[in-house]
């Protein structure tokens, strides 16, 4: 099996309240040198045959990410 990994992140200009909530909790762990936290999603796609990067890009663009608010990167996992 060949694995393609898709990382989906909110665009930098879109507010990430989940990331903010995590950042705000860090001082409770004694961490006070973190400027910001942003949360995304990692998707692992296992092809039954060869890894098909173009196909994975299509999947990412049409379904896994909403290009209005999110960016994504696609890579074959070695």
């Amino acid at each position: 099996m060949a694995r393609v990994v898709v990382d989906v992140m909110l665009k930098p200009e879109i507010l990430d309240p989940q990331g903010q909530a995590v950042a705000n909790a860090l001082p409770r762990l004694g961490v006070d040198d973190v400027a910001s936290v942003r949360i995304g999603r990692r998707v692992e796609i296992d092809f039954s045959g060869e890894a098909d990067l173009d196909r994975a890009k299509e999947i990412a663009d049409k379904l896994l990410a909403n290009p209005v608010i999110e960016d994504y990167t696609v890579r074959v996992e070695q």
Partner: protein, 236 residues
Amino acid sequence: MKIGVVTFPGSLDDGDAARAARYAGAEAVRLWHADPDLHGVDAVVLPGGFSYGDYLRCGAIARFAPVMESIAKAAGDGLPVLGICNGFQILCEAHLLPGALTRNQHLHFRNRDQRIRIETAQTAWTGDFSDGQEIVIPVKNGEGCYVGSPELLDQLEANGQVVARYVGENPNGSMRDIAAVRNEAGNVVGIMPHPEHAIDLLTGPSVEGLGFFTSVLKGFAAGAQPAAQIAQEVGE
């Protein structure tokens, strides 16, 4: 007039939407997500709820339901479509409406009666209101924060595509207090609060939500038939 109400796996408010259509004087037709046949309806409501469990993103998977392909095509021909809450999210994911809906800024689910201002009566679903009219209907969402680029928002305002705004406290952090938008043609409207829950004083804070349903009926009576239906009649 027949108003279709789609049921997706996880829809919650389809019953109330059908009831609101009947209260307004329409025949409510239940449509099924897996059935591409629109059964001759003259308008469609995509109801609230959690279609496909809100997996991935709200509305992202519902967009690919067989019924959505038919609705997208018919909407392009002028069929009035109203997306409420999850239905609004589905319309954005399907690119039938601009922008996107994201997690409420404060991360809390918000459920309360909400005052909104109708910004334009120039849509298939708000013709019965007057511009600037304020109404109170329930809002209940976890991911109702409307976002878009500053350019898009400017464009929506310039085109009169902002249909309603929150008045008072913004319940979810929506940019520019936007509660509802429409497409350029005005036949497709998405709204985050729930007009279908405000049609009877026994169960809602007002009966002002009924206006969305009476609006589409009046438009239909005035002869604004869906282009698809006209094409069908011409073909016969």
